[in-house]
Symmetry: C2
Subunit: 231 residues, 2 copies
Amino acid sequence: MKPAEINQAWNGAEKCKLCSIRHLVLFADLNEDDFQHLHHPIKEFEFKTGSTLYKRNDTIDYVYTVRSGLVKLVHYLPNGSYRITRLLRQGDLAGIEALNGSAYLQHAIAMRETSVCKIPVKNIQQLNNESAQLYKQLTVRWHKVQSEADIWLTHLTMGSSKHRVAHLLIYLAGDKANDEFFLPSREDIGALLAITTETASRIIAEFKREGLLKNQKNFASIDRLKLNSIL
Amino acid sequence: MKPAEINQAWNGAEKCKLCSIRHLVLFADLNEDDFQHLHHPIKEFEFKTGSTLYKRNDTIDYVYTVRSGLVKLVHYLPNGSYRITRLLRQGDLAGIEALNGSAYLQHAIAMRETSVCKIPVKNIQQLNNESAQLYKQLTVRWHKVQSEADIWLTHLTMGSSKHRVAHLLIYLAGDKANDEFFLPSREDIGALLAITTETASRIIAEFKREGLLKNQKNFASIDRLKLNSIL
DNA sequence: AAAACTAATTGATAATTATCAATTTACAAA
DNA sequence: TTTGTAAATTGATAATTATCAATTAGTTTT
């Protein structure tokens, strides 16, 4: 499945400067001059549900900024199953490890329609050499990776299955008050929490029966108070 | 419990240049000139088993390089239990999040006698401004944090308890062929793998009975082949 | 060395979760 | 709409793990 390439290459600077979510992304702190160093074209892509941004060990020339949608980082296991080690949302960077010249660590797959900017690593290196602004943002990103991994380990891999699912739902719902969020398939929930698909399904179904969770297709909303009360 | 301060402050550059494990640490790539920028004293400390390097939310002015020993990063949970989210060994950096001016994410506690260098964050910032060498090492460290978190999530939090313990032992044994390694308490093994102390104990005892693991007090060695065969 | 304490082990049982299988629901293609 | 296919749900049972309790081994203090 090939992603749609929304735009042709453009003169790097122009579009990035106007980006509506720039405050959220890697280039947040760049100033007018910095954009001069973007010599390699940055392109925007749409990925359909289930399509692959990159595979483990792919050539590692790009970093991806998620503009919208949801991306899972996946490890495939020898026995054919898989484990999701992280989710990426708006403003998150995928493939950040490419900056060290090491291969991508996981497969990155869109869980729903997802829009990304594909940034050549060379741009980043160039910016790093010419300007100190980017370095700061980069360490902020690394830091976020670390603290998220930590949250994951602390809350999403321990306790009963019910606790884990509750934590995941709260995580997925994010900060926004009553908004709907994307509810992953039961298989993905299992892969996220290290439980079986069936167990994930049972718990989600139970939550729905008890009114902790409502959904229309893949979109859901939670009753935060009730969910928190079972933690 | 106060750590022993082995050395008084010294002229930063001199001792670091001669450090026997410099090839493993943050300053690996620095050249003669770079050391001029270490204006703040770097001190070496010894921590006894169970003593605390830093606590979550402590003032965040230092980064720690582990010279020898073993450090656990711990999250204490509301119910009084705890979860270990990472282990740090020789060459690893503790408190790397201090570089972003954010608070430490966890408590760092020595699991055995541990020797560390305490590096003022100001040194790092200064080096970053004056030289590009350090940036590279830093991203390598961040990257290592990420990939270790990943390994943790993929192997140490899924599968049966027996699988997890086996994976942990192999991780602890590291690369060195037949060397002994520090075997954590059963409670710590539980906190590392999200299983109970009793389950950890049962499995360790079983491994010992079956000859997969030998130990003298806290030091153990494994039969790699046999352990791998149960994965 | 004896006493006191802590960590490790083991046993019995209850609770949880995985497994295997069947059924129902949702979705997409014809 | 009908048909085919995949996903979600549910049931029954087996396996695993937690829990509670007791015992043994190991360490430290007196």
